[in-house]
Amino acid sequence: MKIRGRIIRLGDNVDTDVIIPARYLVTHDAEVLAKHVFEDYYPEFRAKASGGAIIVAGENFGLGSSREHAVIALKHSGVKAIVAKSFARIFYRNSINLGLPVLVIREAEGLDRLRDGDEAELDVANGVLTIIKTGEKFSCDKMPEFIMKIIEAGGLINYFLKKNG
C-alpha cells in the first residue's frame, strides 16, 4: 500500500479541539466537518491538503477528546496518512478504524529535513517515507499485523464485514 501526497508540517500536541472545535460536533457530515478543519488554528489547512497530503507532526498528535469527527475532517480534507513522533491513543484508534494510516517516525530520523510542501510517498506496510525529489528515505515503525489488516480493509467496519461476510 503506497500513498502519495504533499507534506504538511505540524508541531507537538495538536489536539482534537483545534482540529475540529466542539461547535461543529452537531453533525458528522464529512463535507461540513472538512470545511471547518483547523478553522481557528490553521485556516489555510484545507486548501493545502486538498489534492492529497501527508501530515508530518511531532509528539502526541490528536490528544484530547474522542471525537471521531477529527479524523473525518482530516480525511475528507485530503489527508491520506499521518506520520508523527507519537500519537494520542484514542485518535490513533479512530484513525485506524477509519482506515487512515498513522505511523510513528523514529526520533533519530531528523524530521527537520521533511519540509512543508515536499511531495512524498509513504510505503505503509514497510513504514518508509520517501521524499520524491531527493529520494531521501525516512523510516517509521511498522504497524502491528492486526492493525495493518484493518487499514488494508479500509477501516474497522469493512474489516468486520469482510471477516463475517
Binding site: T27, G64, S66, R67, F146, G155
Partner: protein, 421 residues
Amino acid sequence: MTGLTAIQKVVSRKTGRPRVEVGEIVEAKVDFLMLHEVTGPLAVEEFEKISGKVWDPSRVIVVFDHDVPPSTIDLASQMRRMRSFVKKHGISNFFEIGRGGIAHQVLFEEGFDVPGCLIVGADSHTCTAGATGAVGIGVGSTDAAVVLATGEIWLRVPETMLVEIKGRLRKGVFAKDVALSIVGKIGSNGATYKTIEYSGETVSLMSLSERLTLANLSVETGAKTGIVQTDSKSIEYAECYGKCGGLLEVRSDPDADLERIEMDVSNLEPVVSLPHSVDNVKPVAEVEGLEIDQAFLGSCTNGRLDDLLVASRILKGRRIAPNVRLVVSPASVKVYAEALKTGIIEEIVRAGGIVTSPTCGACLGMSRGVLAEGEVAVSSSNRNFIGRMGDKKSRVFLASPATVAASAVEGKITDPRRLLA
C-alpha cells in the same frame, strides 16, 4: 513468572484466559457500553452497516449530557435519532433529559462502575470509572459501533504506571490539586497508552467523589485508563449494586512488572493549569490577581455535591465580584436535587451565581457559558486547549472548585485559603 498488574488481571478475565501479556493485542468482552448524543449518532450509523441487532441491550447505556436541553436544532435532531435507536432496541438504561446528567457521573451514581468491569464509552473521560476500580476506556464512534454489534473490543494490553501518593492534604488543597499536579508531573504525553494505577495513603483517605476527580484526569496524560486500587470504600460501593460479577480486588501484584512514581503531597499548595495545556501546572500564587470574566463550576471532574458544597461555603454571605459571572452546572440531576435540598443552590444564587441544568455545556464550549474573544475563565473542568470553552482567543485556567469560587468572589484568580473559614 512475574505477578500481574491490575489491568492485566481485568483484561485476562475479559478474554477468558488465565493470563494476558503486556503489549499483546486481544479481543475482550465488554460489560457496559456508554453512548451520548454527540458521539452516539455516528456510532449508531456505523453499527447499522454491520448489524441489525444490539449484542445485549441491557449492557448499553445511553445518556444525553453534552448540551442539555439542546440549544440547536441539529443537536435536538441527534437526540431524536438516539431516542429512536433506544426504542427500537429496547435499551432500558436510557437517561433522558432531566433524568440523568453527565454520563460519567450517571455511570457512577447508577452503580455501573463495579470493580473489575470493563466499560467502554464513546467519550474520552470514560476513565473516570476507574475511581471504584472499574476499567473505563474511551473510544471513538466506530469502535463503539463494533461493540454494539459484538460486545467485544480489540485492545492492546497497556503498561502500568503506579502512582503512589503520600501525605495529608493541607487545608484549602483538594483532590483536584493533586490530580492536576500529577498531570503536571507526568506531562500530557507521559503515560500515553498506559494505565495509571493510583495507590498510597492520600488516595485511601479520599472519598469516592474525590477519587472520581483523580481518575477523570488520567486521560490528560495520554493514558488509556486510570484505576484507583480498590479498598473497603470501593467494595462497599460494589456491594450496593453488584450489576455484574466484578473482580473485587483490583490492584497489581507486588512483583508485577511496572513503572513506579512517588509523590508526597503534604506540602502541596492550590494549583492551576495555565492555558493552553493541562500539564502547564503552577501554584495559584504565581497567577494570583489575574482578572477573570467567568468562573465555571461543573463538569465530570468537579460538579458533584462536595464540589458545590465547598464553593457554597466560600460564597456564603458574600457577593460575586461585579465584573464576573459564576456559572454552576451540577454534574447530575441527583446532585442538583441534593444541592437544592441542602440549601447549596440558594447560597450560590444569593451570591450572584447562575445554576444551569446538569450538562457538560460550558466545559467544551458548546452552550451555557461560552467565552467571547479575549475573555478569561477559571474552571473546575479538565481541559484548557485553544478554543475549548469558546473563542480561540479566550483563555481557561483549570483549578479546584474552591479556587473557582474564591476567584469568583474576588474577580481575579485567588488562593482559596484566604476565604475558607
